[in-house]
């Protein structure tokens, strides 16, 4: 008796017996509309509206904080970026250079690490955790630490390369080294992400192809190039996609370490846009640069997705 569970009948609408209001009837008849509305409003106000407003602003000339209103100038901002603005062309090139270098390093290192960590050995769990630590740290803190390590006079990097008879270099202060040096920091931080994704991919690989390969007398190298890598390809492409999008819009480590310097030698598109918008207050021009950055990220992503699907 004591454990008997009584199921209350679902209360019918307006249990008080009063006639239901128009609003409650509306809710009853359109639950999908009503319950998704708050989320839709948030998405619209915080995401959709800013994107369209940025596009709208990109067609204007507006030097904020002068009391003049924005002036409609059509595609003039884009024309200026592509035909007159050296810093823009430099920024596009540096963005692509940084992205290509960083993602290439990360994919090679990340996949290699995943293959190593996928083998059975003592303390595997421990090492897996250790290798994932860089990803957890705050990028700004990482940038500050690397900045000290790269310091040509007081830093440890010149001591380290000195041990093998190289250097001294000026690292992020050298026009030739600044992008590779920044890509190294990004690689240090984000290689574990590729490792993590690849490990997940490795766990799902079927065993049968390896069995038949063993029976056919294939070498480990052949098995890697002919079986593991092709089977991992979709996984690696996903990791590559994540990292490319992220690298194209890298801001924190570059801004903290060099602010685009020396000169403009590490001023990627994102860093340049930040300067134009929030230091120079050319809101219209900064918006058009953001539209271009958006197009660039979208373009690179579409290409990678096509490659992943094997279309190319």
């Amino acid at each position: 008796m004591a454990n008997e569970i009584r199921v209350e009948p679902m209360p019918t609408w307006a249990p008080s017996g009063k006639p239901a209001s128009a609003w409650s009837l509306f809710v009853e008849h359109h639950p999908v509309l009503v319950f998704t509305l708050p989320a839709a409003v948030v998405v619209f106000v915080l995401m959709v509206f800013p994107v369209f407003y940025t596009v709208y602003m990109s067609l204007h000339s507006w030097f904020a904080s002068s009391l003049t209103a924005p002036e409609f100038i059509g595609l003039q901002n884009f024309k200026r970026a592509f035909t007159q603005d050296e810093r823009f062309r430099n920024a596009i090139w540096l963005t692509l250079y940084f992205t290509a270098l960083a993602t290439a390093l990360q994919v090679v290192l990340g996949v290699s690490l995943a293959l190593l960590l996928n083998r059975p050995f003592r303390g595997k769990g421990f090492f897996r955790s250790i290798f994932l630590l860089p990803m957890v740290a705050t990028p700004v803190a990482i940038a500050l630490v690397w900045m000290m390590m790269y310091n040509p006079t007081l830093g440890v990097m010149n001591y380290l390369v000195g041990l093998v008879g190289l250097g001294p270099y000026t690292w992020v202060s050298d026009v030739r080294f600044v992008i590779p040096a920044l890509a190294a920091v990004d690689t240090w931080e984000w290689t574990p992400l590729i490792t993590l994704i690849t490990l997940a991919g490795l766990a799902t690989l079927p065993l049968e192809p390896y069995e038949s390969a063993l029976i056919d007398g294939a070498t480990p190298a052949q098995m890697f190039w002919r079986i593991t890598l092709p089977l991992l390809r979709p996984t690696i492409m996903v990791a590559l996609l994540f990292r490319s999008i992220d690298c194209l819009k890298t801001f924190d480590i570059i801004y903290v370490m060099t602010a685009g310097g020396p000169g403009f030698a590490s001023e990627t598109l994102n860093v340049y846009t930040f300067q134009v918008g929030l230091f120079y207050f050319h809101i219209g021009y900064a918006s058009s640069l953001l539209v271009i950055l958006f197009a660039l990220v979208l373009g690179v992503s579409l290409i990678l997705i096509k490659v992943r699907r094997g279309a190319w």
Partner: protein, 440 residues
């Protein structure tokens, strides 16, 4: 009738006498009793120094202060956003006129205080405006109008290792030629605690950050940012010589990687004992004299920035001051606060308690005013702030953008590139930026 007239005359005379004795004996600090002032402060040694005394102002005037403090970036953003909105309730804010003055003035956001300063009913007779060092007063003037009193001053100065100069028998440079000779002579000489070699000179080389110190070299060479007709002058012969010398000093006798050095990196190198000279703001002395972090405490001399080929002074006179927005509804009460915060007593308190570099000559001559500051720093600051230039920034609306354009030329010079071409490019960029941002 006659009696009434006589009575009136008597009353009038008595009234006049009362007013004048009151003025002479005591300025009426209580005239805006009950007012509330909203004061926006930047996190800064001056703010730390004045805050404990704000209650004295409230007691003296009966005015209530609501002060807000923000770190510098947020402070600037907040001020800008509030002023842009046109509905700000700020009554007083900290401001560097050379940084944002022209932009704010042209936007019509600043309330000049010339009239308040002249008005004996609003300015206490013992305020003594002329006590402020000459160029610090000039530095608070934007387009001919005084925006407020200065609260702190700093100059680009020459900081040098007294022990190293003595050991190698080198004369402390007073001219740019001697500066280069000293940098050359001392570069590579042992100068750290453990006898390691150091650099001849260290200074900022990072794009925009370098320009405010480079301004000293520019004016010492006899150059300037703009011609009197507001055309870019950064590619004049004098300016090219200045850009060339700044880059050459750092390239030949400075630390590698100077192109990325801000004051933080430069002062680290100097305070680790790895450089014989350092040209930067003299307000950095607490960093260099901090026994926790610095290895050169007590070994550093503070001299005027070297003079140019025709004896021109290169000291920059960079001031923080107080300003009030046009939208303030309590402008006269706000002026009382500005006046109180910069009268001799307060300046002396903040300077003697915190070592904040004040702008009043009488305070620098007072033994208490000198106590927390190296004596040669005080001497050189007083002279530098009388004869230097308030234009540590280009006097334009788009300061940040023009600084980046000029900074790029400085970086090119450090890297050993074509200085003339870089200066011409900087001038062309300046012309374009000014055309875009200063159109009427």
């Amino acid at each position: 009738m006659r009696i009434t007239r006589t009575l009136l005359a008597l009353l009038l005379i008595a009234g006049l006498a009362l007013v004048s004795t009151a003025q002479a004996a005591q300025f009426n600090w209580q005239q805006f009793k009950g007012t509330q002032l909203r004061v926006l402060l930047n996190k800064h040694p001056w703010q730390v120094g004045i805050e404990p005394h704000l209650k004295d102002f409230e007691a003296l005037t009966g005015i209530k202060l609501i002060s807000e403090v923000y770190p510098e970036d947020q402070f600037r953003a907040k001020t800008l956003v509030e002023l842009t909105s046109g509905a700000s309730s700020i009554d007083v804010f900290m401001s560097m006129p050379a940084q944002e003055g022209l932009k704010y003035m042209r936007a019509g956001w600043l309330q000049p205080v010339d009239e308040f300063l002249k008005d004996p009913s609003l300015t206490s007779p013992d305020y003594n405006w002329n006590d402020f060092l000459d160029k610090t007063r000039e530095a608070m003037v934007v387009e001919g109008k005084l925006v407020g009193p200065p609260i702190q001053v700093e100059n680009v100065a020459l900081m040098y290792r007294k022990d190293v100069f003595q050991k190698y028998n080198v004369k402390v440079p007073t001219t740019l030629d001697e500066l280069e000779a000293a940098a050359k002579a001392l570069n590579g000489k042992p100068m750290t605690d453990d006898g390691q070699p150091g650099f001849g000179i260290v200074a900022r080389g990072k794009r925009a950050a370098a320009t405010s110190m480079f301004a000293g070299m520019l004016y010492a060479m006899g150059g300037s940012w703009l011609t009197p007709a507001r055309e870019p002058a950064i590619n004049s012969e004098e300016a090219i010589k200045a850009i060339d010398l700044w880059g050459r000093l750092l390239r030949l006798y400075g630390p590698p990687g100077s192109e990325n050095n801000h004051w933080y990196e430069a002062s680290s190198i100097f305070s680790q004992g790895k450089a014989a000279m350092y040209t930067d703001a003299n307000s950095l002395f607490p960093v260099i004299e901090d026994p926790q972090k610095s290895k050169v405490v007590g070994k550093v001399g503070y001299a005027l920035f070297p003079r140019g080929p025709r004896g021109q002074y290169g000291s920059t006179v960079a001031v923080w001051g107080l300003a009030m927005p046009k939208t303030s509804k309590n402008q006269k009460a706000a002026w009382l606060f500005m006046q109180w915060a910069t009268n001799k007593d307060q300046v002396l308190k903040v300077q003697s308690e915190r070592g904040v570099l004040g702008a009043r000559e009488s305070v620098w001559k007072d033994p208490k005013g000198k106590a927390k500051v190296p004596s040669d720093l005080g001497e050189s600051l007083m002279l530098g702030s009388k004869v230097g230039t308030p234009f540590w920034n280009p006097p334009v609306v788009a300061v940040a953008e023009v600084r980046d354009a000029v900074g790029a030329a400085i970086v090119t010079s450090i890297q050993g590139g074509d200085v003339r071409a870089a200066a011409n490019k900087a001038a062309a960029d300046m012309k374009r930026i000014m055309a875009e941002t200063e159109k009427k």
